[in-house]
Symmetry: none
Amino acid sequence: MMDTKILLIDDDANICDLVKIYLENEGYEVKVASDGSEGLSFFKMYEPDLILLDIMLPKKDGWQVCREIREQSSKPIIMITAKSEVFDKVLGLELGADDFIVKPFNVKELSARVKAVLRRYNAHASQNDDDVIKFENIEISLQKYELKLAGKSVDVPPKELELLYFLASNSDHVFTRDQLLDKVWGFDYLGDSRTVDVHVKRLREKLDGVSDKWMLQTVWGVGYKFKLV
Amino acid sequence: MMDTKILLIDDDANICDLVKIYLENEGYEVKVASDGSEGLSFFKMYEPDLILLDIMLPKKDGWQVCREIREQSSKPIIMITAKSEVFDKVLGLELGADDFIVKPFNVKELSARVKAVLRRYNAHASQNDDDVIKFENIEISLQKYELKLAGKSVDVPPKELELLYFLASNSDHVFTRDQLLDKVWGFDYLGDSRTVDVHVKRLREKLDGVSDKWMLQTVWGVGYKFKLV
DNA sequence: ATTAAAATTCAAAAAATTATCACATGGTTT
DNA sequence: AAACCATGTGATAATTTTTTGAATTTTAAT
């Protein structure tokens, strides 16, 4: 799994150091911008998965930065504010922030909020894929994470299911091993392409004899395809 | 659709007139309240089947009214808001609203939403008027907060019950730990996803051997599901 | 038939994920 | 105050999957 990237936009060097170190220790990758304009350009370059945004900033304030980020992205934003009392949550939510934390804050709490917001974001994103693939004697559902062969549910590990799902949803299309690593394992995967072979092999064991209307076919010198008769 | 009563709570006389006339023409019975407090008392007196609720109101704002209605009723509420651009739906849904419409709106669209929300509400209400889930040897009631296994009532802590209820009411559907934290613990929960494991474990101890028609199944690399047969 | 490239297979190591435990915490009841 | 319960945490054990490296087989072309 690729590192989650966080952009911290804050002009207080002490806070930045503290937060950066703490979050990096938690396994995140953190970049820091010290004013609003810099924050926006970093946002474009760095493509963070989450933004921590102070409200009072030089050059451009946090509200404005939030607004401009929202014009091009829906990535989660956590606002950092010093004024607890006067803070108007609705105003912030209106601008599209996802959460708030009030200075001075506990770094552990910040980290917890980061985790929660990312969870929320991801939980939503992957919620509504109701994609079921069906051919003769085979049914693959990502929602149920289930493979049914000739009506019977068959245990299959995640990667195998994902690979099968991908191939079946692009039936008759050949993919090279590298393409499959890209699409199924992710573009940042660093590994041997033999891996694909092994997964195909294990899938074939399970799929063997289930139907003659389709198969996992080797295209010699190229790669694999889910072939329909 | 006979004699459906709608309560419109809005301080803008123009909108009220327009909506009232249009909805009455569609066959609904419409009462209008012009501020939050009036809205609440009308709600008790009039016993509407649906509430149209503006957010910015004199006396008591829409959020507050929504909250107070929800304390005594689950009748559908459609919120009306002027802030179109970046309105945060979650905030409203949290308070228990059923839908939203943004000012200025098309009266025809409002009418369509009213119809849709009522349909949804009625379908749900008649389908399971009591929130009880039943499978072989198991019965879960959210209303009574009770779990029955093979006919016998079994003590189970709230969180475990809620988790079981959620999984069982979406049987066969896999959820990641994060999704479960979101759905069962709430979107603002700040905690570790291992928590889910522990709750599943404790549930399994109680559910062990009760039936072979269903189970709490681990979907390796993904999460958990309530699996049937 | 020979050869080199490509694909398959196997088993064991490595990595990732889940299960479980004992304890901490905070709120309630006795 | 003590005992209790529900809940959550962190550590460790157990399990499962994934990857790797090498041996073996198949393929296409000469």
